[in-house]
């Protein structure tokens, strides 16, 4: 099976801003594909070019083997769920869903059958006669989905579709979207700044930054093996260290010197040489934490630390510890609850350790990423901290 949807070297500038910079992407048929990135990374511009609302300055877009770059929006086999849903306020739910078939002048009985089918899919049969201002946000969302799907698009474009919903509803709609994707089986192209949404829904994710694709891969690949410090910081929480390669221990392992922190052993996933400046990252859940020092082999880094903060979160506890000059986030799963175990308390001296394979090195990044590093990890990771509007348009 050939590639279904292809962006070939697509660029778009607005004035002096290069919103999309030579992006090439290949998306498979039936895939749930996400474009993930912060505001202004160019993801919405890319989506709008596929929808036909923006013309690329250069590069081509192919859908099912046909060049659609110059087609107007109404002649493309793609439909969009807009961020604010863009339901027609003067039409009822029923009429909104029927809109696409009506402008296509389809026979009346066919329109009725199709709309009924769609109303059933989104479970809104009893609201068919209501107007958009009489239904809730989640219902509007579902109407927007039905209105787009009734045209049987080859690709459904979703532009931050959950951004306007509250957290609880968002969780529910995530599930709903997943179910609808399974039912209709068409390609979904999903644009979001929320890594949680992208991770939970997508087959593959393209992480975008400054108009470029930073990394393309499955959610697992992107989380476990980020290719750049931007991706590492943007996807999930992580602890960053600045260091230099001190010694190549073996083919697989190196030793890093870190200012204000003991030396660490790290897996050689990049071809680093002695003296190279690197960033080093360990995710909070890769750490182990205990009062007692364990005897471990030389593939483990064991470091003394002091607990500064404890946040109990039910399924796990988050510890903020001070080690050397670094303040580290550590997540500990509550695998087994032992009443007689003496819990770790505030200001306790503890030992933390992790296996050399669980940290990864990253090349030094560009200056713009520096800012990202300043943000405490918990501010980046979760929903609702970032306003999605004004995305490079």
């Amino acid at each position: 099976m050939g590639e279904f949807l292809e962006f070939d070297n697509v660029s778009k500038s607005f004035g002096t801003v290069r919103a999309v910079d030579a992006v090439s992407l290949r998306i498979k048929r039936g895939e749930f594909f996400s474009l993930l990135g912060p505001s202004g990374c160019g993801k919405t511009t890319l989506l709008r070019m596929l929808g036909g609302f923006e013309k690329p300055d250069c590069g081509r877009i192919f859908l099912d083997g046909n060049d659609i770059t110059d087609l107007p929006p109404n002649r493309r086999q793609v439909n969009t769920i807009f961020q604010n849903y863009a339901l027609f306020p003067h039409l009822s739910v029923w009429e909104n869903i029927a809109f696409g078939l009506r402008v296509a002048k389809r026979p009346r009985h066919e329109i009725q059958d199709e709309v009924a089918r769609m109303l059933k899919l989104i479970r809104m049969e009893e609201h068919a006669h209501k107007r958009p201002d009489q239904i809730s946000g989640g219902q509007k969302q579902r109407v927007a989905i039905a209105r787009a799907l009734i045209n049987k698009p080859s690709v459904l474009l979703l532009d931050e579709p959950l951004a306007a919903l509250d957290l609880k509803l968002r969780q529910h709609m995530l599930l709903e979207l997943d179910i609808i994707h399974d039912q209709v089986g068409i390609t979904f192209l999903y644009v979001t700044h929320d890594q949680g949404e992208a991770m939970s829904l997508s087959d593959r994710i393209a992480v975008m930054h400054n108009g470029k694709v930073e990394q393309l891969g499955t959610p697992g690949e992107i989380y476990e093996a980020p290719r750049s410090s931007f991706v590492a910081a943007f996807i999930g929480d992580t602890n960053f260290f600045e260091g230099t390669v001190r010694e190549i221990i073996s083919q697989d392992y190196s030793r890093l010197a870190i200012d204000g922190f003991p030396d660490v052993v790290v897996f050689n996933d990049k071809n680093m040489r002695c003296g190279d400046a690197v960033y080093f990252s360990v995710r909070p859940e890769k750490f182990r934490i205990s009062r007692e020092k364990r005897a471990l082999d030389d593939k483990h880094n064991v470091i003394a630390a002091t607990v500064e903060d404890i946040i109990y979160l039910g399924s796990h506890t988050k510890y903020w510890v001070r080690a050397g000059e670094y303040r580290l986030a550590i997540n500990r799963q509550h695998v087994r609850f032992l009443l007689d175990e003496q819990p770790i308390r505030w200001k306790d001296d503890v030992w933390i350790w992790w296996h050399a394979d669980d940290g990864y090195m990253l090349e030094r990044y560009s200056e713009s990423d520096e800012n990202l590093m300043q943000v405490p990890p918990e501010a980046i990771g979760e929903n609702g901290t970032d306003t999605p509007s004004g995305d490079a348009r």
Binding site: K130, R131, R147
Partner: protein, 314 residues
């Protein structure tokens, strides 16, 4: 942090569909609101409602020989309104007003569309140009048109030069001249309310329509026009009603064959000195304007009270 907490506390996969609550809250008038609106209400009552009622009343009074109002009550005026001249003039008044309104709306909609879409700088300039004519007296502008359309006028000469008009054709003193000057006069009154509506229109809806397969034309008619229907209605009333009562325009650029009901009323007052007859015509005009408006208002309030029906399914 809060978001994170909630995230973990949420039971997985539980449907969370809030019930659509009633949105319409009946407006309750407080005494403060009454106090605030009282001056304008009083103004309307004293200077609009009362005079209108006086006009209605005079219709049922006899005329005296000296141009005044005689004693007693009579239906004489009402009977004389069946003069066979009137239907022609009323009909002409209605169609000139209607065509002028239609042309004004047709010109205003594209204008308003572009006003809403251009950059703020352009918008300011265009709005200024729309309003600038008001800085010159209405009468002077009408007489200016008379000069333009005059057989030796600039406009006429230009048209003759371009072979668009025969040298002996008259551009003045006919219904077309009245129509032209009416459109010129009332155009800003159509542009402004339509622009006000277009400015609030969400142009993302046009994109949504195109995305769903509509052509630009379909998007315009099926989404844009319904979206600004309030503005269209206001523009219609703002042009049609004053146009029905126009008096100066047909008097200056219209001839005997382009008289409108306003001219007849003036004639009854100044030439015939028959106030009851003039009042009768004026009352007729008022009823003719108010009746369609009343029907429209009743229709609208009823439509707002009731939820829209599934009329399209039937």
């Amino acid at each position: 942090m809060h978001a994170e907490h909630d995230h973990h506390r949420l039971p997985p996969g539980r449907p969370a569909t809030p019930a659509p609550g009633p949105r319409v809250k009946p407006a309750r008038t407080t005494s403060a609101e009454v106090l605030v609106t009282a001056p304008s209400m009083l103004w309307l009552l004293l200077l609009f409602c009362v005079p209108t009622l006086i006009v209605f009343a005079i219709t049922f009074k006899p005329a005296d020989l000296y141009g005044g109002i005689g004693p007693g009550w009579t239906l004489q005026t009402l009977r004389s309104l069946s003069n066979p001249n009137y239907p022609t003039i009323i009909w002409r008044t209605i169609w000139i007003s209607f065509v002028a309104t239609a042309i004004c709306l047709a010109l205003s909609v594209p204008m308003a569309y572009h006003l809403a879409r251009v950059t703020p700088r352009w918008r300011q300039l265009l709005l200024l140009l729309t309003i600038v004519p008001f800085w010159t007296s209405f009468l002077i502008r009408i007489f200016a048109w008379k000069a333009l359309l005059h057989p030796e006028g600039l406009f006429k000469q230009a048209l003759v030069f371009l072979h668009l008009v025969r040298p002996d054709a008259s551009l003045l003193y006919n219904a077309e001249a009245v129509l032209l000057v009416s459109v010129y006069t009332y155009l800003p009154f159509a542009i402004l309310p339509i622009y006000a509506a277009a400015e609030k229109f969400d142009f993302g809806l046009i994109e949504a329509a195109l995305d769903l397969g509509a052509t630009r034309l379909q998007a315009f008619f099926k989404v844009f026009l319904p979206g600004i229907q309030r503005g269209l209605l206001n523009a219609f009333l703002m042009v049609f009603i004053p146009s029905l009562g126009s008096y100066v325009i047909p008097d200056v650029v219209g001839g005997p064959n382009a008289e409108m009901i306003g001219n007849k009323i003036a004639q009854r007052v100044f030439v015939d000195r028959n106030l009851p007859h003039a009042s009768g015509l004026a009352a007729f005009l008022t009823v003719a304007v108010l009746l369609p408006m009343l029907i429209m208002i009743i229709h609208q309030t009823r439509a707002e009270k009731q939820p829209p029906t599934m009329r399209e399914v039937a």
